[in-house]
C-alpha cells in the first residue's frame, strides 16, 4: 500500500486541460453545456460496428489520466438505456447493422451519434459498400458529428464529443 501511495504521489497530476477549438469553449462552459442539454453527466455508449479495433485503442486512451474524461463530466456506460450519446466506430459490417440499429433504438431521446474514424465516416479502407460492409455509420443510423482520422487521436475524439454537445439546443 505504501508503495502504491509513493507511486501516486511521485507521479502527481498529469491531467491536461481539454482541447480548445473555440476560445469560448472553456471547461466551465463545457460543464454548463452538458448540464444544460442533459441535466447531468454526459453518458456515452461505445458501439463497435465492425472496426479494425484501432479506434477502440484511442477511445480507451480517453480514460487515461492525461485526458481524464470523467473529470470533464463525461463517462462511458454499459447500456444504451443509460446513454445520451453513441460513439460508433465503423465501417458498419452487414452482420452488425441490426445490432447497431437496435442499440440506437434502445437509446432514449435526446440522443447524439458521433461517428468515429475514417471508416465510421465513409467506410475508409474497407470501402463504401461490399458484400460484407455497408460503409459509414450514416448508412444505418443518423449521425450528428463525424470525427475523422485513422485512428483519430484522443484530442480529436474529445473535440468531436464536445462539439456534438455544444450544437445541441437546451432540452432537446
Amino acid at each position: 500500500m505504501l508503495k502504491m501511495l509513493r507511486q501516486i504521489i511521485r507521479v502527481g497530476l498529469v491531467t491536461q486541460a481539454p482541447p480548445v477549438t473555440d476560445p469560448s469553449l472553456l471547461q466551465t462552459r463545457l460543464h454548463e453545456d452538458i448540464h444544460r442539454v442533459f441535466g447531468r453527466a454526459l453518458c456515452i455508449r461505445h458501439v463497435d460496428a465492425g472496426s479494425c479495433n484501432g479506434c477502440e485503442l484511442e477511445i480507451h486512451a480517453l480514460s487515461n489520466p492525461y485526458y481524464n474524461l470523467e473529470g470533464l463530466g463525461i463517462k462511458f456506460v454499459a447500456s444504451p438505456r443509460h446513454a445520451d450519446a453513441l460513439l460508433v466506430t465503423g465501417p458498419v459490417s452487414r452482420h452488425m447493422a441490426q445490432a447497431l440499429q437496435r442499440t440506437y433504438d434502445a437509446t432514449p431521446e435526446p440522443k447524439l451519434v458521433i461517428a468515429v474514424g475514417d471508416c465510421g465516416a465513409c467506410g475508409g479502407v474497407f470501402g463504401e459498400s461490399s458484400y460484407a460492409s455497408l460503409g459509414g455509420i450514416a448508412q444505418v443510423i443518423p449521425v450528428d458529428v463525424t470525427v475523422r482520422g485513422c485512428p483519430p487521436s484522443p484530442t480529436a475524439l474529445l473535440q468531436g464529443i464536445l462539439s456534438a454537445v455544444q450544437r445541441q439546443p437546451a432540452g432537446r
Binding site: K3, M4, Q7, I8, V11, V14, H46, V47, D48, A49, G50, S51, C52, N53, G54, C55, E56, L57, E58, I59, H60, A61, S63, N64, P65, Y66, F76, A78, S79, P80, P91, S93, R94, H95, M96, A97, Q98, A99, T103, G124, V125, F126, G127, S130, Y131, A132, S133, C150, P151, S153
Partner: protein, 516 residues
C-alpha cells in the same frame, strides 16, 4: 535452416520457398494432406493457417495449409478439380482447424469431409449457396434476415443460458458469448464470432502490391505493424526483393514498440478487471507516454502506414533515436516499480492465480499459440525459432510459464515488455546505415508466397499470390486469435461468470483479425 526433407516416407516433393522465412512447399493429394498433417502433429508441430482459393481459371480449387515444425514452416497446397470441391477433415488432427474449415466453406464453398459443418463467418450478409470469394460471385443486395445460430445446448437440472453480445458492456469489439451456467458456475461457453466480417480478403483482390499494405495494416488495428510486416514480407518474397538491413531494423523497432504498447495496456486492463484501478491508471499513463513518443518520432501515435513493400516510409533521425532511448530508460524504471507492486499485492494475486487455467497439456492438444501458449508451458516464439531477419542476431529466448492461469499471462507480459525494451536498445545500437527501401522486383506469377512475424499476440501470417502486373490474386491474412479463441471456452469452465471479463482480458484476442 535445416536442409533435410521432412517425412521422406510420404513421397512428397518439397521445394524451398523464396523469402525471409525458412519454409518448404509441396503439392499434395488428399491422402498425403492428412498424412503430412498427422506427421507434423506427431512430431510436435502445429497448424498455422488454412485457407482456400478459387483458381478455376487455371486448374480448379485449391486448399492451402501452413504448418509449423521445429524451425521452419511447411506449406502444402491441395488442388481440387471437382465442381463440388472437398478435402479430408483436419480438425481431428488439429482442433483449431475446425473454425478455419467452416470459414473456408462459407467464403469459397470448399467443404471439409467431416467435422463441424455449421456456418461460421456467414451470418446473414450472403445466402448459403453464395460464396463471396469465388470468381464472379454475385452477392444479392440487401441483408437477408439473420438465421438463428445452432448453439450446442447443455441440459440438466438448474442449467440456464446467459447470452452476451454482440454489443458488450465495455469498449471492446463485438462478438456473442453463450454461457451455460448453474448458479454462477460456468459449465460451458460457446463463442459466436463473425460480426465484424467486412470482406477484407475480397477487397484485397485486384489491389496492387503497393496499395494492399494499407488494408493489411488494418486487419487488426492493435497489430498493425505485425500485419503490415507479414504482408510486406510476402510481397518481397513474391518479387525476390532484398530489403535493406536498415529497413528491417526499423520494422523490428516498431514491432517491439507495438508489443510494448499492447502489453502495457493489457497489464493495466487486467489489473482493473481484478479491481485494481491504480493499475489501469498507471499503465495507461505509461502507454500514453509511449504513444506520444511515437507521435514525435513517426508522426503518428499508431504508425499504421509506416511500412511499405520493399522497406519503410520514413527514416529515423539521430534525434529520434535519442528520444527513444531516453524515454525507454524512464519507462523501464517505472515498470520495475509497478511490477513490484503487482507481484506483492495479495488481493490482485488472489484474483489472478488459478483463474482461467489452460494447462500445458491442454494448450498442446488445442494448438494454442503466442503469449497464451507461452503462459501454458509452450516454448514457441517465431522470433526464436524462425529467426526472420533482423531477429537472427538478437537471440530472443521465449518467455515461458507453466501455470497457464491469468497470473502466468500477466507474468509473461511483464517479462516480454522488458525483453522488448532490451530488443529496442539492441536494434538502436546495431542500426545499420544505408537506404530504407528497395524497389519491388518482378512478380513470380502463380507462386504462393508467405510472410510472417511474431506479433505481440502471437504468430501473424500472410499468404499472397499476385499476377504479372503486380496485382493481388489472393491474399489471406491470418491472426493468431483463430487458435486461441477455442482455448477461452476451456479456460472459463469451472470458473464463475464474474471472472469472465478478467479471463477474457488476459487472453485479449482480436475479433476483427479473426472475422476478416
Amino acid at each position: 535452416m535445416k536442409t533435410t526433407t521432412p517425412f521422406a516416407e510420404l513421397d512428397v516433393v518439397w521445394t524451398a520457398m523464396p523469402g525471409a522465412l525458412p519454409a518448404l512447399r509441396a503439392d499434395v493429394g488428399a491422402v498425403q494432406l492428412s498424412q503430412v498433417c498427422q506427421c507434423v502433429r506427431d512430431d510436435g508441430g502445429r497448424l498455422v493457417s488454412l485457407w482456400g482459393e478459387d483458381r478455376r481459371n487455371q486448374d480448379g480449387f485449391r486448399l492451402c495449409v501452413v504448418l509449423e515444425l521445429g524451425e521452419r514452416l511447411l506449406v502444402v497446397e491441395h488442388p481440387m478439380h471437382s465442381d463440388v470441391p472437398s478435402y479430408p477433415d483436419l480438425s481431428a488432427i488439429f482442433p483449431s482447424a475446425a473454425r478455419l474449415q467452416r470459414a473456408t466453406f462459407d467464403l469459397l464453398g470448399i467443404r471439409a469431409l467431416g467435422g463441424d459443418a455449421r456456418p461460421w463467418l456467414r451470418h446473414c450478409a450472403w445466402a448459403a449457396d453464395t460464396f463471396p470469394l469465388r470468381g464472379g460471385a454475385v452477392v444479392a443486395a440487401g441483408t437477408p434476415p439473420r438465421e438463428p445460430y445452432p448453439f450446442i445446448p447443455v441440459e440438466g437440472d438448474g442449467v440456464h443460458e446467459i447470452a452476451v453480445g454482440p454489443v458488450h458492456a465495455g469498449t471492446i469489439e463485438p462478438g456473442h458469448f453463450r454461457f451455460s451456467v448453474v448458479g454462477e458456475n460456468v459449465l460451458r461457453l460457446e463463442a459466436h464470432l463473425g460480426y465484424t466480417h467486412k470482406g477484407i480478403e475480397k477487397r484485397l483482390e485486384g489491389m496492387t502490391l503497393a496499395d494492399g499494405i494499407a488494408l493489411a495494416a488494418r486487419v487488426s488495428g492493435d497489430s498493425t505493424i505485425a500485419f503490415a510486416w507479414a504482408y510486406a514480407m510476402a510481397a518481397e518474397a513474391l518479387t525476390d526483393t532484398p530489403v535493406p538491413p536498415r529497413a528491417l531494423a526499423l520494422r523490428a523497432l516498431l514491432l517491439e514498440r507495438e508489443r510494448l504498447a499492447n502489453h502495457l495496456g493489457d497489464i493495466g486492463g487486467i489489473g482493473n478487471d481484478a479491481g485494481l484501478g491504480f493499475g489501469l491508471v498507471q499503465f495507461s499513463r505509461l502507454k500514453e507516454d509511449l504513444l506520444r513518443v511515437n507521435a514525435e518520432v513517426w508522426a503518428a501515435r499508431y504508425p499504421m502506414d509506416a511500412l511499405m513493400p520493399g522497406g519503410v516510409r520514413a527514416d529515423l533521425t539521430p534525434d529520434g533515436a535519442q528520444r527513444l532511448l531516453d524515454s525507454m530508460a524512464s519507462m523501464e524504471t517505472e515498470l520495475r516499480v509497478l511490477r513490484d507492486i503487482y507481484d506483492n499485492h495479495a488481493g490482485l494475486q488472489d484474483r489472478f492465480m488459478g483463474a482461467g487455467c489452460v494447462t500445458p497439456a491442454l494448450a498442446q492438444q488445442l494448438g494454442v499459440v503466442g503469449l497464451v501458449a507461452r503462459a501454458s508451458g509452450q516454448a514457441q516464439d517465431w522470433r526464436a525459432s524462425l529467426r526472420m531477419p533482423p531477429y537472427a542476431g538478437s537471440t530472443v529466448t521465449p518467455v515461458v510459464r507453466e501455470d497457464g492461469d491469468v497470473a502466468a499471462r500477466v507474468d509473461v507480459r511483464f517479462d516480454e515488455a522488458f525483453e522488448s525494451l532490451r530488443l529496442c536498445r539492441h536494434f538502436l545500437a546495431t542500426m545499420p546505415a544505408g537506404p530504407i527501401r528497395a524497389q519491388l522486383g518482378q512478380v513470380r506469377t502463380g507462386h504462393l508466397a508467405v510472410g510472417g512475424v511474431e506479433g505481440w499476440r502471437g504468430p501473424v501470417l500472410v499468404g499472397l499470390r499476385a499476377s504479372a502486373d503486380g496485382r493481388i490474386v489472393r491474399c489471406h491474412p491470418h491472426d493468431p486469435s483463430w487458435h486461441n479463441w477455442p482455448a477461452i471456452e476451456h479456460a472459463i469452465m469451472g470458473n464463475i461468470v464474474p471472472d469472465f471479463p478478467l479471463i477474457n482480458k488476459s487472453f485479449n484476442l482480436s475479433y476483427s483479425g479473426h472475422d476478416l
